[in-house]
Amino acid sequence: MLQTVEEKVFALLPQTFGDYLEQLPPYHEQLTLDFSPSTAPPRKRWRNNGRSADFLADFLVTCLPEIETDMDRRRQAEIKDAVSYIANELLENAMKYSDQSQGTCTRIHLYFDGSCILFLTQNNVRPEAVQAFQGHIQELLNEDTQELYITRLEESVELENSGSGLGLLTMINDYDAKLSWKFEQVEEHGSPVAIAVTTMVQLEI
């Protein structure tokens, strides 16, 4: 029997890529933000990504030990900057690649256990976009990401595009972040209606 692309994609789910933590360790501090797609026009939501990322970074700083030395101050500034950058990129990606037709929320969780910051973003993706997305994930996990970064940039000049996947590459290369993904089917009345992807970023501090 012939299967449609959509059926083939659904048949493989759930799928994980990278070192995805199915069971989260007991994190002491956490914060979750949900964004409804209908509440603001895309341009305004885009601007809100930055504000939300800064809010998450400010929250995380409140969980860090008191500053006692200049080195602590520097370290705190680095962590705040990293959380702000990573959260902003994850929110921008979720907004760019979300299946807007589903009308579902985009969610970002931030967890902190004192030594590891965990980011999780959840959004729906279009079934026809899954294969290309997973191909891109395989490149990130299996290829030399430093080389890939330069290749993407050189290509973006030739192809006049905006450098696909650069945000994820900078997280890996510049922030030593570990990335992983989980694809699951979303069901309604027992039938699959959408595909949800969770992007997990682990940042040791």
Partner: protein
Amino acid sequence: MISFEADLTGEQDTAMEIVKDNYQVTYKSEDSTVYCKGSLRLHGQEEDYQQINSLLDQVIELEPPTVTLNLQELDFLNSLGINMLSKFVIKIRKKKFIKVIVQGAKDTPWQEKSLKNLQRLMPSLSLTLS
């Protein structure tokens, strides 16, 4: 909107600038420097980065012997912005005769992490974080 001011009677004393609520990009011909300030976390598909791209393309067309990119007051830059600056550096590299100096701030952590990548695109690029 890019404002373009040229003193047609003088020695091409040119200033181009984009001023928005949360960022500012200015090119001053007297020191051949592009100043980027504020927070550049803009949308790639919309006009925001295209405007800055056109300003940067105009700077390349002016063909100054050296271009300085002053990012010392640039607090945030998203990956679309990193792409924009990288493209600028690649386009200048293709010109061969234009030198590039990038000035950053060591107190802005993302700059220490990410600006070195510009040097990987153009090894002769001079990067200073102060």
